[in-house]
């Protein structure tokens, strides 16, 4: 598995006769291979046991799981000793969907499921065809209908009532869906032979990557109204979305540029020899290979992005993290923010962990 782990042990392990109970053998070679190692194992086990016991006491044994509606008395009684998981059933609708009209919350719920199905389909290698593009367009259209409503008997919900998990998923997904083509264009621009196009692309990428996303979001929330003609204004969510797309475009461009550099020159020359035009050359020959090269780092960029959408909290957009933070403003439940943060962290973790597993499996298939 690992370099340090197996190499120095190889001669010794080879000399040792392979006898005895396999479990004991495993224990000896992996946990007690030497005296310092044995001491380390014992110390780690002690610390781990203590940690697990105190977490179980706090999180399970002494925890309060349910309370009567809007009554945090039972939780306050065990404060400091046990977790108040009761805040989750109390607040989960608000954390997940924000101020979306309560009776209509099946719509954002369904949208979240659609998003997850869309991500799942996109990971299937067999589906990496043109049809996937149509599926994306269809699903995104369906999600817009569900979220906005106003047709098919659904009541209209304006986007300042949207909140929670769907907003996080919308920001991340549209950030990528629009940022990706932008990134491709900029990456091509950066490798272009035309000096003006190259310098515009370099300037864009370096400026965006040089500053924190927070300052871009401030710009979107504060300066955007200044940039536009008087009287023209667009909604805050859309402004943040534009900032995120611009941000995504710059980072994705750098990843894609790496892929373009990995495509051998012969491929470009062969495409030229066939007389393909610039765009056909890239669309049919270069980009498919370039993107295949960088799928694992692309997925890592997606993960980074998904986490970075939480920064919209700073400009007051109701994504998942903001709804969580707002949920605990309620004086009755104020003291139980740790539980809410753990709940939200678990949601983020599930999405990011799934993506990172996927990226690793891709790398493994490529290494084979």
């Amino acid at each position: 598995m690992s370099a340090i782990a197996d190499i120095p042990d190889v001669p010794r392990a080879a000399r040792r006769p392979q006898i005895g109970n396999p479990v004991l053998r495993w224990l000896r070679s992996n946990l007690f291979s030497s005296i310092p190692n044995g001491i380390l194992t014992v110390v780690l086990l002690a610390v781990l046991t203590k940690g697990v016991i105190s977490f179980v006491q706090w999180g399970i044994a002494n925890a309060v799981w349910l309370t009567p509606a809007n009554d945090s008395g039972a939780c306050k009684a065990v404060r400091g000793l046990g977790a108040c998981w009761a805040i989750i059933p109390e607040k989960y609708r608000f954390i997940l969907f924000g101020t979306y009209p309560f009776d209509e919350q099946w719509r954002p719920g369904l949208s979240v499921l659609l998003f997850i199905a869309l991500y799942f389909l996109s990971t299937r290698r067999a589906l990496w065809r043109r049809e996937l593009g149509y599926i994306w367009v269809g699903a995104l259209a369906l999600i817009s209908v569900l979220m906005w409503g106003g047709v098919f008997g659904l009541s209209f919900v304006s986007q300042d009532r949207w909140g929670g998990l769907p907003v996080t998923l919308i920001l991340a997904t549209s950030g990528l869906a629009f940022g990706f083509p932008l990134g491709i264009l900029v990456a091509l621009g950066r490798r272009s032979k035309l000096p003006a196009i190259r310098s515009v692309s370099v300037l864009y990428v370096e400026l965006i990557r040089g500053v924190p996303l927070v300052s871009l979001l401030f710009m979107a929330s504060v300066m955007f109204p200044l940039f536009m003609p008087a009287g023209f204004n667009i909604d805050k969510l859309l402004r943040a979305q534009i900032a995120i797309i611009l941000f995504a475009g710059a980072y994705l461009a750098e990843v894609i540029r790496g892929g373009l550099q990995a495509v051998p020159r012969g491929q470009y020359e062969a495409a030229d020899a066939l007389g393909l035009s610039y765009w056909r050359k890239h669309r049919l020959v270069v980009l498919p290979q370039a993107i295949r090269h960088v799928i694992p780092p692309l997925v890592n960029t997606f993960i980074a992005f998904f986490k970075d959408t939480s920064l919209v909290l700073i400009i007051g957009i109701f994504d998942l993290l903001t709804t969580a933070k707002t949920a605990i403003i309620d004086p009755a439940w104020q003291q139980f923010s740790v539980e809410v943060y753990i709940f939200v962290a678990a949601i983020y973790f599930v999405f990011c962990f799934a993506m990172s597993r996927y990226s690793r499996s891709l790398e493994a298939t490529r290494a084979r």
Binding site: L40, K193, S215, L321, A345, F349, C352, S356
Partner: protein
Amino acid sequence: MTSDHPRPPPRRSLFGALGPNELKGLFWQVLVVGIAVAVIVFLWSNTVTNLSARRITTGFAFLGREAGMPIADSLLAYNPRDSYLWAFVVGVANTLRVAVIGIVLATILGTLIGISRLSANWLLSRLAAVYVEVLRDIPLLLQLLFWYVLMQALPAARAAWRPVEGVFLSNRGLILPAIPVGSPQLWVLGTAVLGSVAFYAIRRRLLAQQMRDGRPRPAWPFALGLIVALPAAVSLLLGVSWTIEWPQLRGFNFVCGLTLAPEYFALLIALVTYTSAFIAEIVRSGIQSVPRGQWDAASALGLRRSFMLRQIILPQALRVIVPPMTSQYLNLTKNSSLAVAIGYQDVVSIANTTLNQTGQAIEAITLIMAVFLTISLGISFFMNWYNARIALAER
């Protein structure tokens, strides 16, 4: 091709020389630059109209005005009557304070965890893997809010935790014993720095001599003399006192000692733990990138394990480690701007307050960008220099 088709002589006229490809290229360039310029002009003219409608004069003249904003926690002397310019400088100092210390701590912690992931001890490597996976997959802002909530939930100053004698952890932050540093102490520290520089130069010469004749020359006596004995002698000569100030509880707060405010401490912990998870992965893949043969060859020479790691493996691993490490350092610095979410006054937070107070949006954002671009360039410059130094010296 063959030589009996001589190329036509290049024509030098302006447009006549351009073939269809060049014309197309020119067209695209003019189009892209035209669009970029048009967008910028459009935004600029709108902004100027809007600003004049709001009676905001553009320009950096506002920097001389009185800031009037309180800054709770700062390295530099500041009071609200100081100018906006000075408030910005204080903000930059705060950003650098968290970024520099964060980079150092994250590097140490990340390296330890990265090495632990490769440990022969199964339990240690699993625990390190869990640490990396959990911290990497949760947004930094969420972790920051989490640490900040934990800070606030700590007991009050009177009931502060004392993990070690003289160290207090309470909702006022972390209070450490400190040694007051004035000019006599600075003299001694200065000698130590000079001694280190001299030692470094001597060590290089010793190594160069060893390269020539193969005889090892111990460098440690020089280290002892220049870095330890010399400053100690200066300290004795000048009669510098090195008393430690122990923090004491007076009323509701602590006096003496070094205080890390809860905001600063939470930000530092969040940045260090989050970045260390990424650094651990970089260190791990760097060490794994060293081919097996290098380990085998080193053990065949009978080298000790620590020597092997230090002299054979790490120098090769560093070549893989340094470039991605640079981008982690840049990320940590940029991520320090999340300070605004918990009220630690870094440069972004102060620029944001300035922006709200004066309406000088463009100037404030320009300053943020200038500061971060400068820091980014500085870090890249240093890391590129270091990278060039450790790069493979190919024949």
